[in-house]
């Protein structure tokens, strides 16, 4: 435990000094994505409900903060007031989506959630007329950064002649938030509700026969997962200081789902691993592909961006073929598959 804490604390300093602040930024995003993946893990991993529009809740959280803390409406609410509100609103959206759809079979649920995600994005894109609410495709800019102890987190801070940059400050805030989410996730998993979720995932009819109110418990999974997404969204908006509908496409939902499934559904350490890998590896590749090709062939033969996605797709296929339960599956699951 202590070792992990020390590693987490010095990681940005080491990486910032050796690889530059761009990589600390990647770590910030990794923490955000881990929060998202853990939220989706509640829905997909614990309760076994396939949600393909999860990013919509992230969008709800992000836009809520953007609207309440930017010059767009002239409001400047503090983020610590908006985050709980974002969790609440996203949770309500979760119930709004879940209530009519949860009695559908798995794959229907997938397509409906996918449609819901697209609907939210299209609304964000078009709600600039007749009343300008979301500023349409242009997005909302100049969002307030996080304020902590009267200090704007986007500005560097000097401690004893040692300057800590804004991205690093955000890193510490995000890591603490992510750890809180991990903690909540673990406690949920071991709780009565968590066991009810797993029971529903394994066999819904049997769970019902054991006296679990499956509809309410599933709704709770949806709402909980959504509220995690809402919180991560608020943090994202404050970090970027800009939101636009582009950040909340279907591909993002798929990316988060891949983190959950590749890592190991329902297994919190696995999901964290998946989140870390899928944020860091593509980034490393994005920066590495061009120079490597240059060194090998003397010129850039293939578009690095296309190559990156191509390898991402191939990796998805390969991992699933060789480790269908994910890279780091839950031990109990592994036993079942080993039969």
């Amino acid at each position: 435990m202590g070792l992990i804490a020390v590693a987490l604390a010095i990681a940005p300093l080491v990486i910032g000094a050796s690889l530059g602040n761009a990589w600390v930024r990647v770590l910030d995003f990794a923490a955000l994505y881990i929060m998202l993946a853990l939220g989706l893990n509640i829905v997909v991993g614990f309760a076994g409900l396939l949600d393909l529009g999860y990013i919509a809740f992230y969008a709800v959280g992000a836009y809520l903060y953007a609207l309440l803390a930017s010059p767009h409406f002239g409001l400047h609410w503090p983020i610590w007031a908006v985050l709980p509100l974002g969790a609440l609103v996203a949770g309500m959206f979760g119930i709004l989506l879940g209530a009519p759809t949860l009695r559908l079979r798995g794959d229907y649920l997938a397509i409906v959630t996918l449609g819901f995600g697209e609907i939210i994005r299209i609304f964000l894109n078009n709600l600039n007329a007749p009343i300008n609410i979301t500023n349409g495709p242009k997005g909302i800019a100049r969002i307030d950064p996080i304020m902590l102890f009267g200090h704007q987190l986007s500005k560097p801070v000097d401690i004893g002649g040692f300057s800590i940059s804004g991205v690093m400050l955000y890193y510490y805030v995000f890591v603490i938030m992510a750890l809180a989410v991990v903690f909540v996730g673990i406690r949920l998993q071991d709780s009565r509700i968590g066991r009810a979720w797993v029971a529903i995932r394994e066999d819904e009819v049997a769970a019902k026969a054991c006296g679990i109110n499956t509809r309410n418990v599933k709704l709770l999974a949806f709402a909980m997962g959504a509220s995690f997404g809402g919180i991560a969204g608020g943090l994202f908006a404050s970090f970027q200081e800009f939101v636009s509908p582009e950040s909340f496409g279907l591909m993002e939902s798929i990316m988060v789902l891949c983190m959950v499934v590749l890592g190991g559904m329902g297994h919190i350490p696995g999901v964290i691993l998946g989140g870390l890998m899928l944020t860091i590896l593509p980034e490393a590749f994005r920066q590495g592909a061009g120079p490597v090709q240059h060194a090998m062939f003397g010129k850039v033969l293939l578009d690095p961006e296309a190559l990156r996605m191509l390898l991402f797709g191939l990796a998805l296929i390969a991992v699933m073929l060789y480790r269908p339960a994910g890279l780091w599956p839950e031990p109990r699951h592994r036993r079942e598959l080993g039969r």
Binding site: T101, I111, G115, E118, I119, L302, L310, G313, A325
Partner: protein, 307 residues
Amino acid sequence: MDIFLQQLINGLTLGSIYALVALGYTMVYGILGLINFAHGEVVMIGALSSLTIIRLLADSGLPGPVVVLIGLVFAVVVCMALGFTIERVAYRPLRNAPRLAPLITAIGVSIVLQQLAMLIWGRSYHSVPELLPADRHEIFGASYTEIQVIIVVVAAVTMAGLMLLVSRTRLGRAMRATAENPAIAGLMGVDANRIISLTFIIGSGLAALAGVLISANYGIAHYNMGFILGLKAFTAAVLGGIGNLAGAMVGGVLLGVIEALGAGYIGDLSGGIFGSAYQDVFAFFVLITVLVFRPSGLMGEKVSERA
């Protein structure tokens, strides 16, 4: 009235293409219970590979429809091989894996195909040469083109052929048996693996046809065209009741018509608050409404939860 008729014609055209693609989804789902996310990309590969041949032959002096036909045959062959390969590589090894594993490989295949297409054909939009007769005709104040007629007729004939194949032939009976229960079908002497391969091949052939038709309809092809089309077609399949062939056709045509009418009228209906940008919302909204009131789709059978 003329707007209504016009949008009805446009919707029918689009809907019959959706129906062709939806058939591919529904056949695979009926047999494997798998959402073949890569199916939309097969449509895209069909459109672009036929375009390559059509461009090669465009100046050869052959009559336009013949050139398109050659392009179509080429695309069908390419897509059938592709469908066969996808099933072999990405789905067959995972037949007994956890339910989400094949879904993730499907997403992987979809990404790979899209990026390969981008590397081969580039990022730009390709215009499709006008080789099919495209004259406009007037009917009750609305206009239709000959291409639209061709699309609807070709789609209808193909679908009728497929229905005959599935309901009347030995192969069709084997397909239905495998969909019902692969293990029992195997006991009756049906080679389930062969049937599944054939299902993918037939579905991909239909996808190639849909790709050629849709690029002829819009006059444009692009490496990114498959995904949203696949999404709509899957929506159509669910709308009609997934796993049900007739349902996919009805769902496809219905979705096309609803979308076109929605785009045409949504502005007036909402007093100008919503524009035609909300066309896609309309499609999904209809889907959600139908599923809430008829969870198994319009023509799907009621399936009770298996204990």
